[in-house]
C-alpha cells in the first residue's frame, strides 16, 4: 500500500497494464514527453517509448477514429481526450462507430478501448473546461461509463475497464485529481465495473453521487447528522452505466427517500434517469418526492462556479427537506 492521489493512481494503473499487456497503448494530445496537461501519463513515454505513448495531431476525431481502428486490429488503445469538453469533434466516431461496432457487425468486430478524459468543474475552467457530458454517452447503447471518486477505485476501475471487451468512457473528476488521496495497493487488483459502493450507511435518506460531488455529499451527510440527526446513506455509483440499480433500490427500500447529485445541467441529466428508474422499481417505497441537486440549466459559468455547482450548501437543505418530508 502507498498513499497516492488520483493522478498517481491512474498513472500507476496505466503503467501496470502496459507492462502486463503489450497491446495496451496510450494516445492523445500532449500525452507524451510532457505527460498530459494534468500529468496523468507522466513517465510513460520514457518507459514505453513513442510507439506506445503517442502524441497525436490536434484532432479528437482522429484520436478516437484511429483508436477504433487499433481496437479492431486487436490492440487495447487508451486514448486521452484532454478535457471532456473537447470530446465533441470525436462524438461521431464514439456514438456512431465505437458504440455500435459489435452490434452492427453481428459480433464479428469488437471495439474494446478506454477513452480517458478529465470531467467536471471546480478548477475555474469556465464554459469549456468544466462540463460533465456523461448523460450523452449513457443515452448511447453500447457504451459503458465510469467515474471514480478516489485513487483506489480509479486504479481498480481503470484496470477493469482496459480489460473489458466493450468501449468505456472513463471520466476523471479533475477537481479532486490531487485532492483525493488514499491508500492504493501496489500491484494488480481490479474493482469490478457496474458495482456501486455504499460509502456511508444511513436509514433516513439515500443519496446517489459520483466523482467529485461525493465529497460534498459526505460533508453534507456529516452536517445533517450533527444538526438534525439525519442519517444519510451515501452511494458512490463508480460505474454510471450499466448502473448497479439493485444497490440503490435496496437502499431506497430502507430509506424511502432519494436524492441524486450531479454537476451536469439538470435537464436530461443522468439524475433524471436514476430517479425514473426508482419510480419504476420502487415507487411504492417512496415516502418523499425524489430530488435532484445538480448544475443549473445554463452554460458552466466562470466567476460564479461555486454558485453553479451542487455543493454542500445546496445538498444540505435538500437532505433535510427530503428526510423531513
Amino acid at each position: 500500500m502507498t498513499e497516492m492521489n488520483m493522478v498517481q493512481a491512474i498513472n500507476d494503473a496505466l503503467r501496470l497494464e502496459m507492462r502486463r499487456d503489450d497491446r495496451v497503448l496510450v494516445l492523445g494530445e500532449d500525452v507524451g514527453k510532457v505527460g498530459g496537461v494534468f500529468r496523468v501519463t507522466q513517465g510513460l513515454y520514457d518507459e514505453f517509448g513513442e510507439d506506445r505513448v503517442i502524441d497525436t495531431p490536434l484532432a479528437e476525431g482522429g484520436i478516437i477514429g484511429a483508436a477504433i481502428g487499433m481496437a479492431l486490429y486487436g490492440l487495447r488503445p487508451v486514448p486521452e481526450i484532454q478535457f471532456s469538453d473537447f470530446i465533441f469533434p470525436a462524438f461521431d466516431q464514439i456514438v456512431s462507430e465505437a458504440a455500435k461496432y459489435r452490434y452492427r457487425s453481428g459480433g464479428e468486430y469488437t471495439c474494446p478501448m478506454v477513452i480517458r478524459t478529465p470531467v467536471g468543474g471546480g478548477i475555474r475552467g469556465g464554459h469549456y473546461h468544466s462540463q460533465s457530458p456523461e448523460a450523452l454517452f449513457i443515452h448511447t447503447p453500447g457504451l459503458k461509463v465510469v467515474c471514480p471518486s478516489n485513487p483506489y477505485d480509479a486504479k481498480g476501475l481503470l484496470l477493469s475497464a482496459i480489460r473489458d471487451e466493450d468501449p468505456v468512457l472513463f471520466f476523471e473528476p479533475k477537481r479532486v485529481y490531487r485532492a483525493a488521496k488514499g491508500e492504493v495497493p501496489e500491484g494488480d487488483y481490479t474493482v469490478p465495473l457496474s458495482e456501486a459502493k455504499v460509502v456511508r450507511e444511513g436509514k433516513h435518506v439515500t443519496v446517489v453521487a459520483w466523482g467529485a460531488m461525493l465529497y460534498e455529499v459526505l460533508a453534507s451527510a456529516e452536517e445533517v447528522a450533527a444538526s438534525h440527526g439525519i442519517e444519510t446513506e451515501v452511494i458512490d455509483l463508480r460505474t454510471l452505466w450499466p448502473i448497479d440499480l439493485d444497490t440503490i433500490v435496496e437502499s431506497v427500500k430502507k430509506t424511502g427517500r432519494i436524492v441524486v447529485v450531479h454537476e451536469a445541467p439538470k435537464t436530461c441529466g443522468f439524475g433524471a434517469e436514476i430517479l425514473t428508474l426508482i419510480g419504476e422499481k420502487a415507487f411504492l417505497h417512496l415516502e418523499a418526492p425524489p430530488v435532484r441537486v445538480t448544475g443549473w440549466d445554463t452554460p458552466f459559468p466562470y466567476t460564479l462556479e461555486t454558485d453553479y455547482l451542487p455543493l454542500q450548501h445546496r445538498i444540505t437543505p435538500a437532505l433535510i427537506e427530503t428526510a423531513k418530508f
Binding site: L25, D51, R52, T56, P57, A59, G61, G62, G65, A66, A67, I68, G69, M70, L72, Y73, G74, L75, P89, D92, Q93, S96, E97, K100, Y101, R102, Y103, R104, S105, G106, G107, E108, Y109, T110, P141, G142, K144, D164, E165, D166, S194, P242, I243, L245
Partner: protein
C-alpha cells in the same frame, strides 16, 4: 514506384469557370491508360497480369453487374428495402480489391459488395444481408448493403460518410506498430473528401506514415451534388499535397490501370513508404441508390457519354483482342450467374427473420440487467401488427 502526384494547383482561387469534367475524355485528359480504344494494352503501361487473373476479374465484374441489376429489380418489386450498387464503377472496385494481398484489409464505403465477394464471402451470405434475415452475418441489424466480412479481411459498412477512412488508418498503424506486414485500403467517394474524416485520416496517415491506400472513387456525383461543387481544386488527388501524402489519378474504368496503380501503392506501403491517395476517375451510371431518381438533377446526355466508357465493355474488348473470351463463354457466365442469384434469392427469402432475442444480443459482450429485462418484456409482450 509508379506513384506520383497528378495534381496541379489552380492558383487563381478555385476552379470556378473551369469546365466540369463531365465527359470521359475531359475527365481522363492527361491520365495514363493501359487498355486502348482498340482493346489492346499499351505495351509501355501494361502490368502484364496473368491472363487467368484478368479473366477472373472479368468474371467478377460481370457477376457484380448482374447482381446489381437483379437487386434493383428486387427493390422495385418490394422484395428488398434498398440497394446501393456499383454500376459503372466495377473496375475501380474489383481491380483494387484484386491488387490487395491476402493479408491486407479492406475498409469499405458502401458500393463495394463486389470486393467482398472477390474476397470470398459466399454469395448466399451477401443475399442474406440484403434480406436482413437470420442468416445474415450482420444478423439483420443493419440496412441492406451494410455488410461485414471479418473472415475475409473486410470491414463493416456503416452509413456515416468517411468514418472508415480514419479507422483504416488506425488499423494499419496498429499493424505497423506490431511489425505485422499488412496494408489497409479505404474506399470512399469524392464527396467524402469534404468530410472531416478525410482530413483526419490523411493527416494521421501522413504524420505516422501508415501503410494505407486511400481509394477515392471519383464517380462525378455525391447524390445530386456534382464533383466540381465539392472542391475548388481541379482534382481530388492534389489534396494529398496538404498531408505530405503522395497521390495519383488513375483511369478508373481501366481494370489494368487500376490494378497496376493500386498494386504499386500497396507495395510502396508494405515497403515502409507510407500512404498513397489514389483518385480513380469513373462514373456512377445509376442513381445514387434505389431511393434516388437522378433525372431530377442530371442530363441524360452526360450519362450516355459514360455508357460508352463502361469498364465491362472495355475489359471485354481487351479479352477479345487477346482471343481469351468467346461469346459462348460470356453467355454461359451470365446464365450461371443468373441461376446462382436465383437460388440465393430463394434461399434468402425463405430464411426466417432474426429472432427477437437477437435484437438484444451483442450490444455489449455480456448482456446487462437492463437489456435482459427489456428482452423479457419484448418477448413476453404482444407482437406488433404487420407494418409496411
Amino acid at each position: 514506384m509508379q506513384v506520383d502526384s497528378g495534381g496541379q494547383n489552380n492558383h487563381g482561387g478555385g476552379a470556378h469557370g473551369v469546365p466540369a469534367p463531365r465527359t470521359p475524355e475531359a475527365s481522363l485528359a492527361g491520365i495514363a491508360r493501359v487498355i486502348r480504344d482498340d482493346g489492346t494494352a499499351d505495351p509501355a503501361e501494361d502490368p502484364r497480369l496473368p491472363l487467368a487473373l484478368v479473366k477472373s476479374l472479368y468474371v467478377a465484374m460481370v457477376r457484380t453487374r448482374l447482381i446489381d441489376e437483379r437487386l434493383v429489380t428486387l427493390q422495385r418489386q418490394g422484395r428488398i428495402g434498398f440497394h446501393i450498387g456499383s454500376l459503372g464503377e466495377e473496375a475501380t472496385i474489383l481491380a483494387s480489391a484484386a491488387a490487395m494481398r491476402p493479408q491486407d484489409w479492406i475498409f469499405p464505403c458502401y458500393r463495394e459488395f463486389g470486393a467482398l465477394l472477390w474476397r470470398g464471402m459466399p454469395l448466399q451470405a451477401y443475399f442474406d444481408n440484403m434480406f436482413g434475415n437470420a442468416n445474415d452475418p450482420a444478423k439483420g441489424r443493419q440496412m441492406p448493403d451494410h455488410y461485414t466480412g471479418k473472415p475475409y479481411h473486410f470491414g463493416s459498412v456503416s452509413s456515416p460518410i468517411g468514418t472508415q477512412m480514419t479507422q483504416a488508418v488506425g488499423f494499419a498503424w496498429a499493424a505497423k506498430l506490431r511489425k505485422d506486414d499488412l496494408v489497409t485500403s479505404a474506399y470512399f467517394g469524392e464527396g467524402a473528401t469534404s468530410s472531416s474524416e478525410f482530413h483526419t485520416a490523411m493527416n494521421f496517415a501522413g504524420v505516422f506514415k501508415t501503410p494505407t491506400v486511400m481509394l477515392c472513387r471519383n464517380n462525378g456525383w455525391a447524390i445530386s451534388v456534382p464533383s466540381e461543387k465539392q472542391s475548388a481544386t481541379r482534382t481530388f488527388a492534389e489534396k494529398g499535397i496538404a498531408y505530405g501524402v503522395p497521390a495519383v489519378r488513375c483511369d478508373g474504368n481501366d481494370v489494368l490501370a487500376v490494378y497496376k496503380t493500386v498494386r504499386a501503392a500497396v507495395e510502396f506501403a508494405a515497403a515502409g513508404g507510407g500512404p498513397t491517395l489514389i483518385e480513380l476517375m469513373t462514373y456512377r451510371l445509376s442513381g445514387h441508390s434505389t431511393s434516388d431518381d437522378p433525372r431530377a438533377y442530371r442530363a441524360e446526355g452526360e450519362v450516355e457519354g459514360w455508357r460508352k466508357a463502361d469498364p465491362l465493355l472495355r475489359l471485354r474488348k481487351h479479352l477479345e483482342t487477346l482471343g481469351a473470351l468467346t461469346d459462348a463463354e460470356d453467355a454461359q457466365l451470365r446464365a450461371d450467374t443468373d441461376a446462382e442469384i436465383k437460388a440465393c434469392v430463394e434461399a434468402a427469402e425463405a430464411a426466417p427473420k432474426p429472432s427477437l432475442e437477437s435484437m438484444f444480443e451483442g450490444v455489449y459482450a455480456e448482456k446487462p440487467w437492463h437489456l435482459r429485462e427489456q428482452e423479457r418484456e419484448c418477448i413476453e409482450g404482444p407482437r406488433p401488427k404487420a407494418h409496411h
